[in-house]
Subunit: 246 residues, 2 copies
């Protein structure tokens, strides 16, 4: 009996969850997905997640691979899993992948978006889904500033002190800021991201917007490995994992 | 002491509320707004709402006028009201209006939007904020069909039987369907709308999409004053009041 390897593409509103990774005594996306998978397959197979997201962080795409001893009809599997999941977590699709595929290690890169509402009054439809930032924000200037992150750098300063990863060098290949009315999008793509990296990079750009940092300060933080209290970590609610590149 | 007249522009996510109009033993947008206004002004003035919306219906703009014996700083008033309101109801602005202004009777027209998610799997970010419709939907054909609503008609067939309004003639000046990816927008503007009118017009178009009605059937319903079970009222969750024209 050969084991098959499947990849589920999920989307979830992170507000109600203690992040993606399974934990005891906390409701997580992985925990609920495992329960759904166990209900559908009759037993719990080996599963791998593409990454760990924090409490309140959202995902447009989040990938979980799992093995099955029996061949699955991917369309029926998608519907069956959704029937066992709450409405704020949806399996968008399931597909068969090669045996060697690993949801985390096979990823060549990831894309994240951080949403900022730049109106005087918060949009009620974006509560818990964007950061409200009421100060003036020049997106063209910030878009130009954001280009300093491009390339290969040591992102030690743009990483939570809780991170246990040794190698903090990452290559960023997209970094930009765009506006649509009062909604401002901070977009980043890289071969990998450190813990809180997008939230600290976005925080740095918002500090530039407020005149508390400039482009040269960011250049000093990049590679300089120094970290002071001028770098802030913006709240989780505005962060979206939008793509994993395989 | 002269009384001044003010107009508040609100936006709300309707999911948690039993509609806009105040009711005993139910949480409503008007009820919460009145509580906030009473807290800010120290007493409850006379207030008028632009319309009544059903349980679960949303508003990008919803207007409430109120009187005050004292002159208000509109920016401070906006912030003070928001401080007394939950995050899913926001006052976008407050402005002074003429004594004769009435939030409901001064309206020259209204615009509504009905959102349909036309993907195989529902977008979790649109739970309670759009209708999930998984059947094929040709938005160009429906946009053309939607034009039958344009002009002045007797909309008796496109109105809840609970409606107590006598004159059911309305003039529709915008009626169309557009798509952005899997999100399909049904947009209507008219000098006024009957109870459930947008939900029944959208339902009729979705029935056309499924081949259960055609353009001629809608023409028969319009002005024909007949109503049979082929007209459906789509759920409240996809409906947005998007503009009131004064």
């Amino acid at each position: 009996m050969s084991t098959r390897n499947y990849l589920a593409d999920l989307s979830f509103v992170g507000t109600a969850y203690h992040g993606s990774q399974i934990q005891k005594n906390a409701v997580t996306v992985q925990g609920l997905f495992q329960n759904a998978l166990e209900a559908v397959l009759g037993k719990l197979p080996d599963i791998k997640c593409c990454s760990r997201t924090d409490t309140g962080v959202h995902a447009r795409h989040f990938y979980i691979s799992f093995t099955s001893d029996v061949a699955c009809d991917c369309v029926k599997m998608t519907a069956a899993l959704n029937a066992h999941l709450p409405f704020d977590i949806r399996v968008l699709s399931v597909k068969e992948v090669s045996d060697e595929f690993h949801a985390r290690y096979s990823a060549k890169g990831k894309r994240y978006e951080y949403l900022v509402w730049n109106g005087a009054v918060m949009d009620p439809f974006l509560t818990d889904r964007a950061l409200h930032f009421g100060y003036p924000l020049d997106e063209k200037m910030l878009d130009e500033t954001a280009k300093v992150f491009l390339g290969t750098h040591d992102f030690s300063s743009f990483c939570s002190s809780k991170s246990s990863v040794e190698d903090k060098v990452r290559t960023v290949f997209e970094s930009g800021v765009t506006r649509e009315g009062d909604l401002v999008r901070f977009g980043f793509a890289a071969d990998g991201f450190l813990y809180n990296m997008v939230r600290i990079m976005t925080g740095a750009l918002l500090q530039v917007s407020r005149g508390k940092l400039d482009k040269n300060d960011i250049l000093l933080y990049l590679n300089g490995k120094k970290r002071d209290n001028l770098l802030i970590t913006v709240p989780a609610c505005g962060l979206y994992l939008t793509e994993v590149m395989y």
